[in-house]
């Protein structure tokens, strides 16, 4: 990566910053929000478990998605699942809607996961040639 690498890196940093801001407050807000919507602790636990399942799905499917759609499309489309997840959390009614919202909202999350960047940075992918 050279030439416009500065701009590309700034974009990656900006995206990372924006995502971790949202994830870190959402990790705290989600259980409280679900509680205020009348879910029991068991149901809240189920929704949070589904967030973990969403992470697991993403980690498993990401390479196949990138191979299928290409890196740019994958990076562009996946964040939009946050919008769907948010809409379901805001306007959904019932456990199934919140579970789906939690799943969709976590699909873009990858290693920095719940709690922000505290577990991040350990996975350096293989460098390709690129340009």
């Amino acid at each position: 990566m050279s030439g416009s690498s500065g701009n590309t890196l700034r974009g990656v940093y900006a995206a990372k910053l924006a995502r971790t801001v949202a994830y870190s407050y959402m990790a705290l807000l989600l259980p409280l929000y679900l509680s205020s919507r009348g879910l029991t602790p068991l149901e809240i636990g189920i929704v949070l478990a589904c967030v973990g399942v969403g992470n697991l799905l993403m980690l498993t499917l990401a390479p196949a998605l990138v191979n299928l759609l290409g890196l740019r499309r994958t990076l562009t489309i996946l964040p939009l699942t946050l919008v769907l997840g948010s809409l379901l959390l805001l306007y959904g009614n019932g456990l199934a809607a919140y579970i789906l919202g939690g799943l969709l909202g976590s699909l873009q999350r990858h290693p920095d996961g719940v709690g922000g960047a505290t577990r991040d940075g350990s996975n350096t992918p293989r460098g390709g040639g690129g340009g």
């Binding site: 890196l9 924006a18 409280l32 960047a117 577990r119």
Partner: protein
Amino acid sequence: MDQTLLAEVEADKRTSTFSHYNLAGYAGSALGGLILSLVSMIASKSVGDTLLIACYAAVGVLVSLIYTIMRIPGLVVPSRQMYVHEVAKSNPTLLGLAALRC
């Protein structure tokens, strides 16, 4: 996945690039906690919750826009045969680590 892009930088800049990337993550994490407490001080619970979840959706749009306008260099994708072979070798380790993360 965006870390794939970081691995594309020149070898001598890679360490600082990953450092900056993680710094952005830690800063974002701290900022998120601060935003949550500020919003809970300023707004009522229902309004604050709705506002923050709407912002969560807006972040999705923002990140998508960033990657839409960003110039992403082409990556060299290994051949399918090589890819399958290597993934098969490392699958047990990867699955174990993924399970630990959950």
